[in-house]
Assembly symmetry: C2
Homo-oligomer: 228 residues x 2
């Protein structure tokens, strides 16, 4: 059985890569910067995205978001409060987003991509499976909250290896949770030397300016990640 | 492609179910109660297990644990400090445990099962994929920390639907995290009416006695879950 399963999996991944490549070409042509967020459930992707959409929109930028979940459109409703166009992707039992889901959601949304500055894609909360699926994004950002423990990068290395930046969230809870921030950063660097690390709390606002600077720099060719 | 993928998946699940059934029969014959723990990464499975092994062992019970992770044997080393026999299952890129991994780990460990009162199985941190794989356990316990947000049961319903109890962890952080505990419990009950819910903090010890009572009751036939 094993060779057959592997073969099917390879075909799925290849199909995904082709679709992701086509998406990235469309994003480049439209001049929209696409950022995906991955993390455990409850690390704070939606809360960060809420604060990000509001601040970017307040700064005159045109932003939109796709959000993936197994069930509910709770996140899309939360994010719509920012005023930005948001569309939910309900995956059912699928534990991650795939490029064709992004493609289908964009087709349904009919957003004029060339009138957007940023498109965010929030993945299903899962530190494992999303790492294998390119969504055509320009930068994948992995979130890790201070309440999850310093050891998570060591235990879930692939998602850190395939990301372009790490954001340590819930900085306001680092004290109560007893999080050793230098150790957490050292563990991220152990797994992926040189990965940019941002520390923030979307609730308190601490570190949000650096995060916004990071996003702005993605749209400046000189500082774009290698794959842009 | 889709029908072929589904067919392969059904065969994998069927193979897993047969293996799980055989494991459960062995556990029943040996008289060992087997409890699996599932949750997001960082919800506190290992910390709860550490406190649980120590307290059960201090009460004269014979306990052992298998712990699953993509990488590292950190958890096995942490748990071994309790003095209980512990074995790590390193899954590589596999996002969940399967019954044959449990079977292989038990064969390698060579623990005399009939001399154990409790065997714990800590799954890979993942709120999605482990829900599909029976491990032969008598009770599956899903952990959800107060820092993850009240909405997680609604967004990850399958893991709650397939569990025999929910444990809300990090109760000491509910205040700092602004967790609405009644809402979290209501969301669990929405998804799975009647599911027993325990609230605890392994760090402060609050709620640990009720958790130990829950475990003791699993070994009393009158109060065992239906599948025992």
């Amino acid at each position: 059985m094993t060779p057959r399963i592997l073969e099917v999996r390879q075909q799925i991944l290849k199909k995904n890569d082709l679709c992701a490549r086509a998406l990235r070409a469309r994003f480049d042509e439209a001049g929209v910067i696409v950022v995906s967020l991955v993390s455990s459930p409850g690390a704070g992707k939606t809360t960060l995205l809420q604060a990000t959409l509001s601040r970017l929109a307040a700064g005159g930028l045109r932003v939109a978001a796709l959000v993936g979940d197994l069930a509910t459109d709770n996140d899309a409703r939360r994010l719509a409060e920012s005023g930005a166009p948001v569309r939910q992707i309900v995956t059912g039992t699928v534990c991650h987003l795939e490029a064709d889901m992004v493609d289908a959601a964009l087709a349904a949304a009919q957003w004029p991509l060339n009138q957007l500055d940023f498109l965010f894609i929030e993945n299903v909360g899962n530190l494992v499976c999303p790492s294998s699926y390119d969504l055509g994004e320009h930068a994948r950002v992995v979130l890790l909250s201070t309440t999850e423990g310093e050891d998570k990068p060591l235990k879930y290395p692939t998602i850190f290896n395939t990301s372009d930046a790490a954001v340590v969230t819930k900085l306001d809870l680092a004290g109560p949770a007893g999080c050793d921030l230098p150790q957490m950063s050292a563990n991220i660097q152990d797994v992926r030397p040189g990965l940019p690390i941002l520390l923030l709390s979307a609730r308190s606002g601490q570190g949000m300016n650096q995060w916004l600077d990071f996003l702005h720099n993605l749209s400046t060719p000189a500082t774009q990640p290698a794959q842009l």
